[in-house]
């Protein structure tokens, strides 16, 4: 709840084209910026946030510190990638922008996204840091992207020069499967200076720590309802399409009736399995499920995880109901599909028809091989448990 004016310095240099942070470094950065803006404006309505770009033709202030979130998000559109990042100039311009903030009672903070190599000397950065400290400006550094020698050292030196009582932070984010914004959620940049942070940051961090399991598509419906809705609609459309394709294929094969019985059994079996696992080792099992290339089980797990989360959030309960209905359909079709996918020829024909998927791609082949080996023991498991379930019924 600290009253703050924040300037966010974005790196839009050529290095941001790289895709090691999906979908691209620049996009990951933009998502993180959106998240930060939302968090800041939510934690205190009088907070202001401004954005500037450090690369391109030169340092350019896109929006001066304002509390209007829409304006900030709008200015993030149509940004061009190019040039080299000028860290020193960026920070100095940010300091100037903060100096001219309208509400002088706000504390000054600069958040820098350093994705490309830092060409300045350590000395220069230290001097800048001292100047920031002298004017009581706090600095947060997000170190991601390129990691050439000396960059981390320089940024740490800059932080040491600025840091006054642990109010400034640096975060190093390596490339990986997790989104940049998700990792940021758990850092002190979001959680504030040990005050516990805003409710938004805490809940979002908890969700992210649970492995996106709290929310349906990794997007909080409260934060961004339009995006969540768009994702859900597109997911439903895709499921409907897959379901139609699966049904067509099922009619052609003779396994349809047998698959139908086993569907119910596998569904209930997986649901109960998922529930018990979720109660005991939520995160571990989800990680395991994620690594397994079995769409049906992970879907159910997500559903059961969601039911736990939904117990706490009535809004989520509604979303859960919708998704359970969909996934019920989906699981059946997917369980069906898993057996069909065991059939190599069928798989390759499907894959050839899907746009953008090359069946000769080695990664695709790997997935197929793993699915084949998995579907066989699972079928045996299903058949063992199916009679048990039917006895209970």
């Amino acid at each position: 709840m600290v009253l703050e004016a924040t300037m966010i310095c974005i790196d839009n240099s050529e290095w941001m084209r790289n895709g090691d942070y999906g979908p691209s470094r620049f996009q990951a950065q933009a998502d993180a910026v959106n998240l930060i803006c939302g968090a800041k404006t939510q934690s205190n309505p009088e907070n202001t946030v401004g954005v500037l770009t450090m690369a391109g033709k030169g340092v350019r202030v896109l929006v001066t510190p304002t509390s209007d979130l829409g304006k900030i998000l709008a200015c993030m559109h149509g940004l061009e990638i190019g040039g080299e990042m000028n860290l020193a100039a960026g920070i100095q311009v940010a300091q100037l922008a903060l100096k001219h903030r309208q509400n002088k009672k706000q504390q000054q903070r600069i958040i820098v996204f350093a994705g490309s190599p830092v060409k300045h000397e350590k000395k220069t950065l230290e001097m800048i840091g001292k100047k920031l400290k002298k004017n009581s400006v706090t600095l947060d550094i997000v170190n991601f992207g390129e990691d050439d020698e000396g960059k981390t050292e320089k940024l740490e030196a800059l932080l040491a020069a600025v840091n006054n009582n642990d109010t400034s932070h640096i975060v190093h984010i390596p490339a990986g499967p997790n989104a940049l914004s998700d990792i940021l959620l758990s850092t002190p940049i979001f959680t504030g200076d040990g005050e516990g942070g805003s409710g938004f940051a805490a809940s979002a961090a908890a969700a992210a720590a649970g492995g996106i399991s709290g929310f349906e598509f990794g997007v909080d419906p409260n934060l961004d309802p339009e995006l969540a809705l768009a994702l859900r609609v597109s997911m439903e459309e895709e499921r409907a399409r897959q379901e139609a394709a699966a049904k067509k294929a099922a009619e052609e094969s003779s396994k349809q009736e047998k698959g139908g019985e086993e569907q119910d059994a596998t569904m209930t079996e997986r649901a109960s399995e998922g529930a018990s696992e979720a109660d005991n080792k939520k995160n571990e099992f989800l990680a395991l499920a994620m690594s397994m290339d079995e769409p049906a089980s992970s879907q159910d797990l997500q559903d059961t995880e969601m039911s736990d989360a939904a117990a706490e959030d009535p809004e989520l309960a509604l979303a859960l109901q919708l998704s359970v209905q969909d996934s019920a359909k989906d699981s059946s079709s997917q369980a069906d599909m898993s057996k069909l996918l065991a059939d190599q020829s069928f798989v390759s024909s499907i894959l050839a028809s899907l746009p953008g998927v090359d069946p000769n791609d080695p990664s695709v082949k790997e997935v197929l091989a793993s699915m084949q080996s998995q579907s066989e023991p699972q079928q045996k498991q299903d058949e063992d448990k199916a009679p048990k379930e039917e006895d209970k019924k």
Binding site: K99, K130, K131, K133, K134, N135
Partner: protein
């Protein structure tokens, strides 16, 4: 002679302006967090020689003191140690929210170079005419006696008179008649 007399006459009416400081708006740039401004300003803290206001990143300090009412500033006392005490002190009247970057943008209302006597407690008389209508005072400590990295200030005291209060007293006397 008459100037000296009038100077002493003013001395008699001046009060310690500590009571008129608006503490919610007091700011100090470049202070060390373990040695903040109240160590030098607040009653009790400032008398303690062990408690100093110290600078952080370099030797300069920028202190902003708003007042609860309009005052006239007569003199200031800045006490510090022999080496680390402040040397050049610039005073700005009624300039809000200054930063280190704009201290040189406009001339100060008064400048004082502190001698060792001053550091021991001798008040520095300011240009009274420039401080007749002071809502806020900015004290810029530019350097210290020995040129070291850290400036240490033990006590800052402001002496002067308030504008309204003087009027009130005048009214009272008339009423007594």
């Amino acid at each position: 002679m008459s100037a000296a007399e009038s100077a002493t006459a003013i001395h008699r009416n001046q009060v310690d302006l500590l009571d008129f400081i608006d503490w919610s708006g007091v700011e100090c740039l470049n202070q060390s967090s373990s040695h903040p401004l109240p160590n030098a300003l607040k009653q009790g803290y400032r008398e303690d020689e062990g408690l100093n206001l110290e600078s952080d990143a370099d030797e300069q300090l920028l202190i902003y003191i708003p007042f609860t009412q309009v005052i006239k500033l007569h003199s200031i006392v800045v006490m510090g140690s022999e080496e680390d005490g402040p040397k050049t002190v610039k005073l700005f009247a009624n300039r809000e929210h200054m930063g280190f970057s704009n201290v040189s943008d406009f001339p100060p209302s008064d400048t004082a170079v502190l001698s060792q006597d001053n550091l021991k407690g001798k008040p520095v008389v300011v240009k009274y005419v420039k401080f007749q209508n002071v809502r806020s005072l900015t004290i810029f400590i530019e350097d210290n006696q020995s040129g070291s990295e850290i400036t240490k200030v033990q006590k800052i005291a402001l002496y002067g008179s308030t504008v309204e209060t003087t009027d009130m007293k005048g009214l009272k006397k008339i009423e007594d008649h």
